[in-house]
Amino acid sequence: MTCDLNRTDDQRQILDAATAMLAAHYPVARLREPRTDSMAALAEFGGFLLAASEEDGGAGFTLVEEALLHVRLGHHLVSPRAVAGALACRLAARQAEPALAERIAAGAAEVCPALPHGDGHLLIDAEGAALALAFEGRRLSLIELGGTAPEPVAGLGHGGIATSRLAPGRGRRIAEGDDRACLTADLLVSAQLLGIAEAARDLAVDYAQTRRQFGKPIGAFQAIKHHCANMGLQAEMLSAQLDMAAIAARDGRDDAAFQVAALRRLAPRAALFNTRTAIQVHGGIGFSAEADIHHYLKQAHVLIRLGEPAPLLDLPAALAPRTNRPRRTPCASP
């Protein structure tokens, strides 16, 4: 069969390994104490080099596996430094800075995301970061922070997100992204949003099976069932589109830009819908800082701001899959 959307054995293995690594180093319970994730464990796992070629120290996987890894990172609410780092490696490599790319991939240089904010930038999880990856509309740049000291500002939800301000003109732009980098950014950000949408669904479904009212699990009530079904729907649509977009991007198919733009348009909606609905399914505890669900909502808000989606109506509509190989023999007449 030339079309096959099953996960391969290799994919299952790398995802199982990722799940184990994430459970050990990035358990969601860690978020109950505010601290900034180090990328060391992810780097050691090879998370930044998954799609790199074997000469470049990669494991011979592709953008598809990297996207699937980022879905898992979304489940674990790993700091958006992971997306920033994955992109920064590519920008540095493209700018002929192999040493810098290696340091980022090894977790020796940490990269935080930066968003336009007033005349300067708002940095996310900047503690100890040497570099920032700026998402400005559809432009990506790598900024060396050098000795600049970003000024902490209170983050969303009374410190729920670690934000700081980089004054205008501080830092030095050392590399710029191209279209391919933007496509990768959209794919990885969307993959993480899918992880959040799935995790929110799973949290809500688990809670609906255990929390009892009126003598039965709340999941036996149809209003709750339908909330859960709606979350299932959002996650499934997004996950199918992620496969489609990742495959198109990996294979350099001519509908890649369209598939990724459609994905990036759907991802914020699915993540916000599912986190919002999951809070509702949890009732009072869902509104408390004690439950984990609000972390998913806030992380979704961060990820959504990482770059703007490409204008979907400007792209030619996708067609059915076609062969990437030029024809060698003419078709036999029917």
């Binding site: 299932g232 199918a240 059915a320």
Partner: protein, 373 residues
């Protein structure tokens, strides 16, 4: 995970595209009645003569045994050519009656019916729903009394699409009066010309007589018309619904992308306008529905519950597209045009074939594992 097609597939696509370009009828399909029947059977016969009918059916039953790649390519080309909607009066026969017979029918049933279906010589309808049994299909009350080698049927069906123009019916009746709910039912082939059958067409809100009430007054059906075992009709019915909710819907689902493209072309929205944003959302959702359709074809784990997910995404998206199409029309929205007709027809999407609420129950209970209510 890959979506590569071979050169051979590419030739298949080219052949499909060329054939469709030469053969898709220029006139739009009539909405109902005998003209709708003639048009649909003509088109199916044309497809058959061209070698394009029964692509997904096994070869031993006159089909082409085409793999998923070819089915997808065929339907992609089919909708791209704006060929007649696959949801016409041949849909039941080709997409679920035929496959049900292939799965559970007797040799005689297969030998008689399958060629008639593929060659565009018979129309089938589905007699499941009753006035008292809609979402709760298992509560159906139409009875079949076994007398010698015949079953004598009494009762009523309703909402039977194309009953007025059908030759045969998938008829679900209670043959064992001592059993209730899912037990004691039988799925039989009912000849719509049999004495004792009265068909009373019902006009729908779009002004079309698409479905009908069917009354059975001592209708005699040979026992040999039972499909899948006497009193074992629920299993047969679930087989039928499984086909209906899965690959049968491929052509209908892929057609939505084309509807969105046509709508964008017609609307010419100003960049950044609210209409542009809305159309971009629809375009993205249609892409995702397409991706889900591919998943059900190219992933082994797809089940009929996954069909519920897809069916629901499809139904609600079809309604949003129809609504958007209505909204951009201006005063023309009040006239009888194809978009306004489609808009009204779209109200049925979340009702027919299992309501949206029932699909959500299925998703919650069978996919997510929440307790049965």
């Amino acid at each position: 995970m890959r979506l590569d097609i071979t050169e051979d597939d590419e030739c298949f696509r080219r052949a499909a595209r060329d054939w469709l370009a030469d053969n898709v009828p220029a006139a739009p399909a009539p909405y109902d009645g005998q003209p709708a029947r003639d048009y649909a059977l003509d088109w199916l016969a044309t497809c058959h003569a061209g070698g394009w009918s029964g692509l997904g059916w096994p070869r031993e039953y006159g089909g082409q045994g085409a793999p998923g790649e070819k089915l997808i390519l065929w339907y992609e080309e089919y909708v791209r050519a704006r060929a007649p909607s696959v949801l016409d009066c041949t849909f039941v026969a080709v997409n679920h009656a035929g496959p049900t017979l292939i799965a559970l029918g007797s040799d005689a049933q297969k030998a008689f019916h399958l060629p008639r279906i593929l060659e565009g010589r018979s129309v089938w309808c589905q007699g499941f729903s009753e006035p008292g049994a809609g979402s709760d299909l298992a509560s159906l009350a139409a009875t079949g009394r076994v007398e010698g080698d015949e079953i004598v049927v009494n009762g009523q069906k309703i909402w039977t699409s194309f009953a007025d123009i059908a030759d045969y019916q998938e008829l679900l009746i209670r043959t064992d009066p001592d059993q209730d709910r899912h037990r004691g039912l039988s799925w039989v082939i009912c000849d719509m010309t049999a004495p004792g059958i009265t068909v009373r067409p019902i006009r729908n809100m779009a002004g079309v007589t698409h479905f009908a009430e069917v009354f059975y007054d001592d209708v005699r059906i040979p026992l040999s018309n039972v499909v899948g075992g006497l009193h074992d009709g629920w299993r047969t019915a679930m087989t039928t619904l499984g086909f209906e909710r899965r690959t049968a819907a491929m052509g209908v689902q892929l057609a939505l992308s084309i509807k969105v493209e046509d709508l964008i072309a017609r609307a010419e929205p100003a960049p950044g306008s609210a209409t542009a944003e809305r159309l971009a959302d629809l375009r993205a959702e249609a892409a995702a529905l397409r991706a889900m359709t591919y998943r059900t074809v190219f992933r082994d784990s797809a089940t009929s519950s996954d069909g519920s997910l897809m069916r629901l995404v499809f139904a609600e998206l079809a309604q949003r597209i129809a609504q958007a199409s209505m909204d951009i029309l201006g005063a023309e929205a009040l006239t009888d045009t194809p978009p306004t007709h489609d808009y009204l027809e779209a109200y049925s999407e979340t009702i027919a074939g299992g309501t949206a609420e029932i699909q959500r129950n299925i998703i919650a209970e069978r996919i997510l594992g929440l307790p049965r209510s």
